[in-house]
Assembly symmetry: D2
Homo-oligomer: 346 residues x 4
């Protein structure tokens, strides 16, 4: 018995990645696919890698189409620009599972939302990062899911064990490199191949990136106190992947062994997160196209800091894979259905 | 009921790709994994993307290990350097399906083998390119399979329909670009990232590439006469993918419509080859990590030539995927089991 | 004593590369810089690599600005979209050297222009490829120069010696790979870094590329008869560089030695073209950022074809460097002034 | 009047870049070029981008060759593996300017050297980073120069103004991304193009990187107290460039205006360092192939940290350009001779 799924925003990178994963999910039937400016076009011309869906035609993103007209959808994924999910979601019934891959329902603090997104806060939904403490319980049976941002996924998973174990001071310093697909498919000059190949560059420096309050929210919850975050994202010359280098001052008395133990404990039973053997470090190539998270941690005694590094695929675990994993939990399916820990490398 | 599979050469790119695919194949149990210089090492340190096999330890490549000692293997894949398969294969029993991913058993002409590989010809096995005329029949029930080279796969699929339909003169001119994984994992200075990023360069120009006689063999079989091949391979700054631009002078009276019809007919029932809609051209990104082949063809009236272009993933359809597809046929399984036409993009 | 130079289209890739070279030219003073949609902006925000010009502000592209108002310009470079140069050039006086980096004045055949560009032919100017037979003489003292297209530069230099020496049949088959800067700086979805990294793809297949008639023109002039050209351009995942693989059937009696001799003779005194030692092949990385052309040629006896391969930097020798080289000749300066044969590698 | 220059290690990336720059230096004559395993080979086969030196043959790296036999060298550059410079340098006379591009003479603290390099300390030479306080004076007239490491160059320039102005706490947290040429030309599997393209990965995490004590040395000198450094280097999929993201907790009372003023003052008269206009951030592409340093700084009030980011070309300003700039100063030449601030972009 399949669940019937609609995808809003099927022409973008997040929507395309979700469709790639849904095609491999044995319990899913793909229903309506919608786009805005691309409505009426064949998917084959927009997402030529999705061969089985090449003849599908995009419909307009309306509540009627997403509800499913003749045959209702059980699940609706919203891969829409930030600020557009809430209006659509409000028109969908309470029995439909709505998975918002945008930012609209991630933040608990309305003031944070307004400061970083400049519009009215739409409310807070259960947060789709099951690996966080209490994360799975919040999703089971839920009809609304807010999928985390890609950077907060990588950063929160790298650093929460240090905070839940009380090993780190509440001041995190994070530098992350992302592949260009994280910036989306809208054609902008600074995202041209000619500009990004051979170049590393930062953006949103100094606290301006919209994912900062989401990291603060997650790490503060783990720490049980307000954690400040210095976050610098950089654009790397690769299509996919996030490498997040996350550091925090170690609390007095911390040892390398204590750090290792905390991380081993945090990820012991996680199907997608792998704490690498000591001495091996994450690489984004190893998780390319997969839902896997590679984590490694070190304690730098001379500098007095814990350094935790994670690698994810920003489109998979960072967006569409995380969304599907959360859907599985919400629907009571095996959490790993349709997802893999095996990267496409080299 | 699973078939039990061994992989010789599990630490290389071809072996790693095969394992990636085997892990997703529902009818396979992965048995012994062997390496030469890497015997005794954990696979997790050599192929960090293959998370489920991280704790596996490589065994030495011997006939005993590959036969399977306590529990015999049903299938043995040989991902060994050219010239090393034959000696191993001879020691494996006639009931084991041996799939040679090296070159040793591809060529029918012993003189060609000796001219291009410089050693004694080991014999000719059924050829693992089911899409060629008569290709599937040759593989059904076979216990020995010679997996085609990556370039011959891309080139033969792009051009054989023009020859079987009698549309092209027997002189093909081919220029192909390959990702660097086609050159293998052995560390050589010219394959360093610093050298290949930002650079295109040819190699084996003027007929010297070892895949040339294999192309001639396939195209001549399709044409029913000797086809000469001018083949220029180039190294492209990407890890995976082959884009093969294949041209041949059109026979008198050829029309664009006749060309289109020949290609539509050749690929109408193929599960992995897709003739793109007119006006859309192949891109290696669209088939990344998949067993799909994208093909497009044009008739350039002014130049009097047919131009057929194909895109494949050199490690998947070009090597390990083609090997698995052929194994499926030989064993009587559904040809597509464990394989996908969906690329990982962007 | 400096010549005073204006650049129309200073915000694009061709204009930026020209400015990079002009800054290193000892006999040039940089006058007005113009743009269209970018007029009024600081160059530092548009071309951040041109540090010495960071505070310059773009002016609108008008005949008055380009003429030079208070202080007349001696040279005006037009780096404008195809079809826009002619109207501007007509308003500039006969004593100003006008160097058109667009296509408007390249083709001798008005019918070709109209077929490929769809507008009225603006006339034919001396052609800025001094290495062609008679090329320098045509430029000396000229007040109008048509800079060749990037592909025709690479292809004509690779193949003309075979034709001038009577070694090749008049049917050329050419496949070239270009870096993405050849497609310009206008933001289009298929040129996004996410799309091009990791991908090779063809375009303009089957004779449709606008550079085809220009190649035919050059090769036919060298051959003394009409040469047909099958030209397939491909987009490669690198910012700069063209690798052109050019083949033609050898005339009866041709030998490898005769081919080598013809090429040695053609390039013996050329400051920018280097016929590599036998066995060494061109690589675009070796000419990155330079005006150098690397050429190698082979005779494939089995296929009966001559294969000539060239590597250039599409923005330097392929556009701005070629323009500057031609300007030097037209003004009677040393041809190499401000230009280098040294690439930036790795 | 030219200075006669020898280069030891001419076949590597540092040596090759130095030769590229020396060829453009008007006051230099290139003398002996040496290599170890490559002695006897043509430079054209090892460094094909250095066209004017293609026919030069590498000599063995001996004191006699470097001294200059018949015609003495005025300057000897040592681009040798770490730990090999000292033995060679000892044999060169006191009147020869010896510029060590390796690490041997950078560190003032012998214990640091022994801890990080595992051999005996060879002594400390004047440090080739003229932009540091007192940097130029130390180099003027010197006959020995220790060229800084590439990471310390990027990091020290980004962060010293915050310390000299007393704005930052003595605990720096640094994450830097480097192009692969920083890892040298020796063929190692993890540096293959297949491995690095599409991947970001860290190395030397937790204080283990040999450049850490050099950063501590420079920043402590600027601060007037011991500065701890948490340094995480990452390998980025590009041939060249370093982007260094450097943060430190702001001292109480610091304001954004004070930070800006300190940086403006520090770089006001520097020919190669450019503090970008507010809102514009460094990109490695902008300094590709140049000796320029782009710097930008922000004060993140919410996190209480100063974030200073620099971009350099690791081979130019980070190695060979820095070496040449220091040579110019030592010899009393104009500091910028043979060097440019103009990057090769896109």
């Amino acid at each position: 018995m399949s669940v019937r799924v609609a995808v809003a925003g099927a022409s973008g990178y997040a929507g395309g990645e979700l469709l790639r994963l849904l095609l491999a999910h044995p319990g899913v039937e793909i229903g309506a696919l919608t786009g805005n400016s691309n409505a009426g076009q064949r998917l084959g011309s927009l997402q030529p890698h999705l061969a089985p869906l090449a003849e599908r035609v995009l419909e307009p993103t309306t509540a009627e189409v997403l509800a499913g007209q003749d045959r209702p959808h059980d699940v609706v994924f919203l891969a829409l620009p930030h600020g557009q999910s809430a209006a659509v979601a409000e028109q969908l019934g309470p029995d439909v599972l709505v998975v918002d891959m945008g930012a609209d329902h991630r933040l608990a603090d309305a003031a944070d939302w307004e400061a970083f997104y400049g519009s009215q806060h739409a409310g807070t939904w259960p947060y789709g990062l099951p690996e966080l403490p209490g994360g799975r319980a919040a999703l089971e049976g839920s009809k609304r899911i807010a999928v985390p941002g890609c950077y907060p996924t990588a950063v929160s998973l790298a650093l929460f064990p240090a905070y839940t174990a009380g090993l780190a001071e509440p001041e995190a310093v994070i530098v992350a490199a992302s592949g260009t697909s994280g910036a989306g498919k809208a054609a902008k000059p600074h995202l041209l191949g000619s500009e990004v190949m051979g170049s590393m560059s930062p953006y949103g420096v100094g606290g301006g990136h919209r994912h900062t309050p989401e990291m603060i929210q997650n790490l503060s919850a783990a720490a049980g106190e307000r954690v400040t975050v210095s976050f610098t994202p950089t654009l790397a010359p690769m299509p996919r992947g996030i490498l997040a280098t996350c550091t925090a001052k170690a609390r007095p008395g911390v040892t390398a062994a204590a750090v290792r133990t905390a991380y081993e404990k945090a990820f012991a039973d996680e199907p997608f997160v792998r704490l690498l053997p000591e001495g091996q470090w994450p690489a984004t190539a190893s998780v390319y196209g997969s839902n896997a998270v590679q984590v490694q941690v070190a304690y730098d005694q001379a500098a007095g800091r814990i350094i935790a590094i994670s690698a994810i695929d920003n489109l998979t675990k960072g967006t569409a894979g995380g969304a599907l994993q959360s859907m599985n939990i919400a629907l009571g399916l095996d959490e790993s259905t349709g997802l893999t820990t095996i990267g496409v490398a080299p």
